[in-house]
Amino acid sequence: MTETQPAIRLTALTKEFGAVTAVDHVDLEIAAGEFFSMLGPSGSGKTTVLRLIAGFEQPSGGTVELFGQDVTKRAPFDRDVNTVFQDYALFPHMSVLDNVAYGLRVRGLGRKERNERALRALASVRLEQMAGRKPSQLSGGQRQRVALARATVVQPKVLLLDEPLGALDLKLREQMQVELKQIQRELGITFIFVTHDQEEALTLSDRIAVFNDGRIEQLGTPAELYERPRSRFVADFVGTSNLFDADRSRTILGREGHHSVRPEKMTVTRDGLRQQGVVDVPGTVVEAIYLGSGVRLVVDLDDGTRVTVLEQNDRGRQHDDERGDRVVVSWHDDDVVPLGIEVLPGISG
């Protein structure tokens, strides 16, 4: 096992459920120590990939390698990966301590030794005082941390997390995101994180794979995905985008192919910016939504294209726009992202 071996290597991984192809020839390498996210809508195959790595499902084709070793045919209990389940899957009849000690128990560790280690793992998630409780007596966030301690106490090489924050409310989610990142840094192991929440993926990950229809649509760092989406799907799924199809790209942008512009890259003024390299397009405000930190404006450009503009709520804002106001929407040419020449069914904003 060398440092250069990827923690996970998937080769032409395929999974069919009857006539449905859930995972379609996925090739992927995840480096050791990486915080890697698999992002996609439900049914995109991301969870199935995770379950194939864990060994809960057998692939219809392709291989799963763990640090250079082919583990495709191995049972879950023979793989050095552990999972934090979406529903936490804590054993309801066991105390929190017994839950965390379970992996050590089935490995044949004595009671004293395993309880000590389990307590230490619980301490690392600040729950040692809950050791004697049953999972049903814990809050959602606490259960989440127990599940994390239970999976990490057996020192896996790779930790798989299946939408672990999905059931938590917003505040707790943000707090757990920070904690997850810290734990990952402390343990130094590879985290593979499945989520449908693009903001969560952007916040946490070193790299993200965007899944669509059982395939990886785009693979890259959060900045790459956000700034340079390569397809309409990624532009739309990661953040919000103003999409311009081929016709509108030609008339509005004067470019061939499909393009997207992020709402926060656009500004709204009364008279336009009138600068070199800036596109000014007149339109009418349809909706102005106050967000606290900013204002979201929906503007119908004069040719009928509807765009969304995100204006920061800072001193630069000179006036309040209202429904029906005549305005000019402006954006810099450099902020126009080409999306290739795929056929778009229509414009969405």
Binding site: A54, F56, A75, N82, A89, L90
Partner: protein, 299 residues
């Protein structure tokens, strides 16, 4: 704009009743529970109490009438009589054997139904388990009588291997009762396993638990209440049975036979009641033991 107007609800008598009930929770509860409580209270509990009381009365040996004088004679007879002791032990042995066999058979079947079979297969199996309950108890017992007979199908099957049918007797009784009560044991265990999320089994496997530790440490404790519910059926039904043992049990008697003879031929209802108390006491003892083990805490 043309909005169709939604008509206001009309004041019907039914509506007035609904309004009354929705504002009077006690009346609602009374209406809901009066019929079942009447059934449970009057018909069920009173019959049981009468049984209990009758055991402390006696029969005038001359007239055959029940005399309502308090006496412990019947209880003493039942406890000290060697016949009753033997039959009680025999009944208990049969009930325990039936229960053990049923649990041993039901666990793998229920596990397959709940965790392995496809949803379609699952439905087919549930129907297959329930189907025998449509046939009469008597018919099934007589079917076993023919299977177990000296020229029956069991003899024919086993003879080439040097075996033979157990014939009529206690083994035949145990086999037949195990067959009769098996659905009552499978169904609660199946329901119990259904309630165990698959993710718990996956979590165990994920943490390094092979099949046996997973079954022992995760599945078994979680379905124990369901297993116990199943054993209460097979155990209690076996304790009270007297028809099966009549049909396939040869000359053997169980507690139910003694009750039957005393109610009928011997015309001694008080003694029959006293005998009937034995299985009740045993079942209560069993429930007490089960409670002590803490198996019902997770219900």
């Amino acid at each position: 704009m043309t909005h169709a107007t939604v008509p206001r609800p009309r004041e019907t008598p039914a509506r007035r009743v609904s309004v009354f009930l929705s504002t009077h929770p006690r009346a609602r509860l009374g209406l809901l529970l009066s019929a079942p409580l009447f059934w449970l209270g009057i018909v069920y509990i009173v019959a049981l109490v009468l049984l209990l009381v009758t055991a402390f009365w006696s029969v005038d040996s001359f007239t055959g009438e029940i005399t309502q004088e308090w006496t412990l004679d019947n209880i003493v007879t039942v406890i000290t009589g060697s016949l009753y002791q033997t039959v009680t032990l025999r009944t208990l042995g049969v009930a325990l054997a039936v229960t053990l066999i049923d649990v041993a058979l039901a666990l793998p079947i229920a596990f397959f139904m709940a965790k392995v079979a496809t949803p379609r297969m699952q439905r087919i199996l549930v129907i297959a388990v329930l189907t025998p309950l449509w046939a009469s108890y008597l018919v099934k017992a007589y079917a076993w009588r023919s299977v177990l007979s000296q020229d029956g199908i069991l003899e024919w099957l086993l003879a080439p291997f040097g075996g033979s049918t157990p014939g009529y007797g206690l083994p035949a009784t145990i086999i037949t009762l195990s067959y009769l009560w098996l659905p009552y044991v499978i169904l609660p265990i199946y329901a119990g396993l259904e309630r165990v999320p698959d993710s718990l089994l996956e979590a165990s496997s994920d943490l390094g638990g092979r099949t046996w530790p997973t079954l022992r440490l995760v599945v078994f404790p979680l379905v124990l209440p369901a297993i116990i519910a199943g054993t209460i059926f097979s155990f209690a039904l076996s304790l009270g049975d007297y028809i099966t043992v009549n049909i396939v049990g040869g000359a053997n008697q169980m507690l139910g036979n003694l009750v039957y003879t005393n109610v009928g031929a011997a015309n001694n209802l008080p003694l029959a009641s006293a005998i009937a108390l034995i299985p009740i006491v045993i079942i209560f003892g069993y429930l007490f033991l089960v409670r002590r083990t803490g198996a019902l805490d997770n219900l």
